[in-house]
Symmetry: C2
Subunit: 194 residues, 2 copies
């Protein structure tokens, strides 16, 4: 029963944070959506903070496993194909749930003032850049690959941020995903042929 309840409460948290924001999300707004009593949160997560952190860890693991799944589906991918899979996996959460995007931004903002959320955010940020750099390295000198990864990560985050803040539609996110992929081609053309 425990794993079921835990997931239900995490889903309810995603829903509440997406709709009300992290600031207005209370144990009541969460437990109400989950159809349970408020006490259950402390029972399964030790408290509100524990549930918040578990929810972020869930989003992070979803993102990670999503990419690993894509990678595993087809072996012997070219570096360019791998780069574009990374882009796709970063824009994927939108397709699954519109809730997720708003929730991410709420948690990121909070990570500046919460050590555990900061740690989790750093893991995610570092992994994105590291994944990108690994593939770029096979297409250009090491130093250029590092900068290309840095720029691509920023471009993905920037396009994503502007989509979220402007209440972008599904089409807007798809467009952003396409621009990110085009940018990768540009970087390879720029650095790759030296």
């Amino acid at each position: 029963m425990e794993p079921v309840r835990r997931q239900q409460l995490i889903d309810a948290t995603l829903s509440s944070v997406a709709e009300l924001g992290l600031h207005a999300t209370t144990i009541n707004s969460i437990s109400k959506r989950a159809g349970m009593s408020s006490g259950i949160i402390s029972h399964y997560f030790g408290g509100k903070q524990g549930l918040i952190e578990a929810t972020v860890r869930f989003l992070l693991s979803e993102l990670k496993s999503n990419l690993l799944l894509k990678m595993a589906q087809s072996d012997s991918l070219s570096p360019v194909q791998r780069l574009k899979l990374i882009v796709e996996s970063n824009f994927a959460p939108i397709q699954q749930q519109q809730d997720s995007t708003r929730t991410w931004l709420n948690f990121w903002a909070q990570s500046m003032h919460d050590p555990e959320l900061f740690r989790l955010q750093k893991v995610n940020s570092t992994r994105l850049r590291s994944n990108l750099q690994a593939s770029f390295s096979k297409l250009m000198p090491r130093k250029d690959a590092k900068q290309a990864a840095e720029l691509t990560a920023a471009m993905i985050d920037g396009l994503w941020l502007r989509c979220v803040l402007n209440r972008g539609s599904q089409a807007d996110f798809s467009h952003a995903e396409q621009l990110s992929k085009q940018y990768i081609d540009t970087l390879i053309a720029q650095f790759g042929e030296q």
Copy 2:
């Protein structure tokens, strides 16, 4: 006395949001920093929400007047020079106050759940893209200029976001500013010579 007190309370709000986050910022944490009592906030701003919104408007007007000042200092600027001034003005708030950067992200996240903050955020977002597009239009076809502006805005926001989230140093922000300027050159080289 009123304008003085208002600015003091806005400064105290910036300080509190930067250190504690928007969630943990209360009328007490603000008024304490300003060396006043909590009641004064309702007196001058109608309430906490009014002070929050006034603080965002202050940040916005600072950003705007900063750019206008740069533009006015030297007339007859080339489009490229104008583009780089726009970049500089967007990375400038950091040099003035490290508080500002954290505060911006907090407000952006909240803008998803607050109509007035959303409106203000949209004004800012639109102005950045519009300013960029105006200068790009003098260097390339209209359609390309639009995309170049979109990409540059995303690059600036993305680099800025990653700097803020990773507690970037002054040098990190300067580096990000430099990368943004380089990217503008790349876009002009890509689209400008057709």
